[in-house]
């Protein structure tokens, strides 16, 4: 009954106007759901973790897959903008910055389940800051050696495969970059 979504049949020559999204919420399509009742066939496309899909598959009363704390949290809403937990679950954007404080850990759970933060963060303590990097007002410049590292890595791989033509190309790029770096040294480094 459930097919992995492969192609939108009619999409061959026409560009879709906007990215395809779930018929129930705003997430990407993962499942094509076909329901046959008597002579009537209905076909809808939904995202993988759509509450609507759960409802159709398992019946109305099990629509939140397990987890007791989820049910207790269902009534939560942001006092500043009125965004509810329900709307957050179906992928509707947050309404204001206060939402981040209201939903806090629930947000992190959501991010984890939609695989939108690196896995190693899942193991860390939830209370510690997960953002790494600049804060407002800080400016920064890219260390040019980072690009060199990437090129060197690629160079080593091509050498392993004995693809000398490619290796020569990469070496030229590395050379050009190192020369550039030398000539541009002495520029003031903007870093507060």
């Amino acid at each position: 009954m459930i097919d992995q979504f492969e192609n939108n049949g009619d999409g061959e020559n026409k560009l879709p106007d906007r990215p395809l999204e779930c018929s129930e919420c705003k997430k990407g399509i993962a499942v094509c759901y076909t329901e046959i009742v008597g002579d009537v066939i209905t076909r809808v496309s939904m995202c993988a973790d759509c509450p609507e899909l759960q409802r159709r598959l398992h019946g109305a009363h099990i629509h939140h897959a397990g987890a007791s704390h989820e049910e207790t949290a269902t009534g939560v809403a942001c006092g500043n903008c009125g965004t509810t937990l329900e709307s957050l679950r179906v992928g509707i954007p947050l309404g204001c910055s206060v939402c981040y404080e209201v939903f806090d850990d629930i947000l992190i759970d959501e991010l984890l389940s939609s695989e939108k933060i690196p896995e190693r963060l899942a193991k860390g303590k939830k209370t510690s800051p997960i953002h790494i990097g600049r804060a407002p007002g800080e400016s920064q410049e890219m260390n040019p050696s980072l690009r060199l590292l990437a090129l060197n890595e690629a160079l080593n791989e091509t050498l392993k495969k004995e693809d000398y033509e490619q290796a020569a190309l990469l070496r030229d790029q590395i050379k050009a970059l190192t020369e550039n770096k030398e000539s541009s040294q002495g520029k003031p480094h903007e870093n507060k």
Partner: protein, 360 residues
Amino acid sequence: MKINEPQGSILFQKKPWSNNPNPIWLASTVTLLRNIEKFKFPGKLDDDRKKQIVSLVSKDLLADGATAVGGLTKPSLIKGESIGALEKEYLVEHFMSSHNYNEAGAGEGFILDESGEFLATLNMNDHVHLQLLDIKGELENTWSRLVKIETALGKKLNYSYLPKFGFLTADPTQCGTALLVTVYLQVSGLVHMGIVDDILEKIADESFYISGIQGNPNEIIGDILMIQNNYTLGLTEENIISSMRSLTTKLIVEETSTRNQVKKDNSADMKDKVSRAYGILTHSYQIESVEALNALSLLKLGAEAGWISGIGNRELNELTFNCRRAHLLHECTEKISQEEIPHKRAEKIHKALKEVKLLT
């Protein structure tokens, strides 16, 4: 249908991608998403508040100080309601955007500058999206330039920020650095040798989102991969950029050696594919953009293998961008109907490929 040219046509001034000799790297964009403190996100704002944001941000971005710091040249504001659907489509095509600007109305806006590389969208998902387009493969420099613009603006406005979640965005999956890096690579060789999936599995991990240019991961149009960072939270901007650099370098290496292999194999099957693509492009009476982009990619493969003469990457890349609907319409001087577009496209391609010869 006809494109209007309002506002001294800053929209149409420069096409950064029109002179791109790169065989694989078509374009890249670097985007920073920012919201302004104390205001609700655009989805919850009424029109008056939205207009307030537009005037706040544009006042600061258009001010002389920001112009100097960010290196912007004569930026100007285009209000959402002042341009039509086709002009917005033109913007989407120009900046390879995966957003739909069509819904931009009175409370939304765009800020462009003369370079044709800078775009700020106002009140679309977030208060400000600052974006730079680049075709030279200069991810690192582009990011540095964008950070300058972002910090210049940040001196006048306070961004929504929490130490735990970083910069706050309406879509919680984009908070943290709120940095999106997107690279468009044309991997004609990998696709037509049937190895693109294997290669991607080998070198790309879950920290990248890879799809076609329309945002559909199951439909790769014109053999162009759109590669974007999947994570914005929990790693630094340098991490994001350097892992993107590393992935794209590896992919380019694979694609170049595959193209060399295609040339060396000189296989009848591949030559057949290229000849058919040439036939479609030069003899169709009407052609849709997806078909055109696919065939143009094969033509590129053929040109590099030495099976086709009279055209280079520069021209093929330009045609790839210009045969899309809004760009095509922009070149038309007269008004044409929706039904006539595929024919206009075919005509344009015929003209561009006039000197192209299939070598046997």
